[in-house]
């Protein structure tokens, strides 16, 4: 009876949206920090190629973070 009374669809939507968005943001922000830190380490070791590659990783991750936040806000304002 309780199961029938609960709006399972809305709860499931809340669950997967939260998991997907929360983990995605954590991953891309962590990758951005990883890229920046490793790029700095590589520069100190005079490994220009690796430093550039990590800097690109940081930039892409930062851009993805911004895109995720904007996408989330757009989804919310459409409601």
């Amino acid at each position: 009876m309780i199961r029938a009374a609960v709006d399972a669809g809305a709860l499931v939507k809340m669950l997967y949206s939260s998991l997907l968005a929360g983990l995605s943001v954590s991953i891309v922000v962590s990758l951005a920090i990883y890229g920046v830190t490793r790029s700095s380490d590589m520069r100190r070791l005079h490994r220009g190629g690796a430093a550039t590659a990590y800097a690109v990783l940081a930039l892409v991750a930062a851009a993805l973070t911004a895109a995720l936040v904007v996408y989330g806000l757009i989804l919310l304002t459409r409601k």
Partner: protein
């Protein structure tokens, strides 16, 4: 005329509730970035206040749920709404006095349910709505936040765990500005709408808005957004201390994970129209971020006190709401009852604030 007088009292009381909601819930938004030194306390509170204001304009779905989901339209009068609000304010201030992060949302809905029950009996309460739109999400949301924050911090440590601590902490302090901003926005979106819903409910009860043409007027949105922003700006430092440092001592990565999880759960709940407790969600997220790193790092005694306050909120606010309605009826059905209770409430508030100021106020959390 009498109806309009009561309506004005109700709107003033609703704005006062919204202020206490912002005041009480500032901690949810700013406690983690302050405790990890990601941002200066005053700046955090000012930023949270601004984003709370903006967030209030994003969606109106929760307002509709609050106004239409829990009690029968026919049973709601302006006096009932007034009694419900007084119940919520009273419970908010009691928990603030003891530094406990309880739910303003559940206090509000509990107060309303109590007042409606006193006025028209249990049949006027939408038990199904209460179960599906309040109680079940209230039980599930902190668990989701706990899980998302726990998984997030494991992922974060997996990615950056072997890097130098200095740049990583600086990075996550910056990340906390982002996740904290989202959290403040989500708080404004979810919480300001509850007051909008209650004021609109009073407007319907007073005949200013037809029940068949339910909508939230723009002026209601503006005053609700302003009141919650002002309350947030004033800041409830006692609860900030409990949330920010007494549940666990966080590092910046944990603060980021907890805030991010809290924000995503609240935004997801707002999008499906659940009037979620931001307090429950952020407390669950903080516990998750702490437990995933080290279960014994969470001060489970403090967490237990918080859970007790959560469980008591709905029945306690309902009890006060019912009692206030009963007392107001002693003065008849006019505006005298709400007026007398309003004056008594203001006097009681003054006494509580003076007593609290006379005690040693805890310093804002800075470490």
């Amino acid at each position: 005329m009498t109806g309009d007088v009561i309506l004005v009292i109700v709107i003033c009381t609703a704005v006062a509730f919204d202020f206490t909601n912002g005041f009480h819930d500032t901690a949810n938004v700013v406690a983690t970035p302050i405790s990890t030194r990601a941002i200066a306390p005053r700046t955090a509170v000012a930023l949270a206040s601004l984003l709370n204001f903006v967030g209030a304009f994003i969606s109106l779905k929760v307002a509709t749920t609050v106004a239409q989901g829990f009690v029968s339209d026919q049973a709601v009068t302006t006096t009932v709404v007034f009694a419900g609000l007084v119940g919520a304010i009273t419970w908010n201030l009691i928990t603030w006095y003891f530094g406990l992060p309880s739910s303003s949302s559940h206090a509000l809905i509990g107060g309303l349910v109590g007042a409606v029950t006193a006025s028209a009996g249990f049949s006027a309460v939408n038990g199904n709505g209460l179960l599906t739109k309040l109680i079940v999400p209230a039980l599930v949301a902190p668990l989701i936040a706990f899980t998302v924050a726990g998984l997030s911090i494991l992922v974060v440590y997996g990615i950056v765990g072997r890097l130098r601590l200095g740049p990583v902490n600086r990075g996550f302090r910056l990340g906390q500005l982002l996740s904290g901003g989202l959290l403040a926005l989500s708080h404004g979106t979810n919480d300001a709408q509850k007051t909008m819903g209650v004021i609109t409910l009073a407007l319907v009860a007073n005949g200013n808005i037809a029940a068949s043409n339910f909508h939230v007027p723009t002026w209601v949105v503006v005053i609700s957004a302003s009141a919650i922003a002002a309350g947030t700006f004033t800041g409830g430092w006692r609860i900030i201390r409990t949330v920010g440092s007494r549940i666990i001592s966080m590092d910046p990565a944990q603060g980021f994970a907890a805030q991010g999880a809290g924000a995503t759960v609240i935004l997801a709940a707002s999008s499906v129209g659940y009037p979620l407790s931001t307090t429950h969600v952020i407390s669950g997220a903080i516990m998750g971020a702490g437990a995933a790193k080290n279960v014994s790092a969470v001060r489970w005694g403090v967490a237990g006190n918080i859970v007790v306050a959560w469980v008591l909120t709905l029945p306690a606010a309902a009890g006060v709401g019912a009692a206030v309605y009963a007392v107001s009826q002693l003065f008849g059905s006019g505006a005298i009852g709400p007026l007398v209770i309003s004056i008594a409430l203001v006097v009681a508030l003054a006494v509580v604030f003076v007593r609290r100021l006379q005690q040693t106020a805890p310093a804002p959390v800075t470490s």
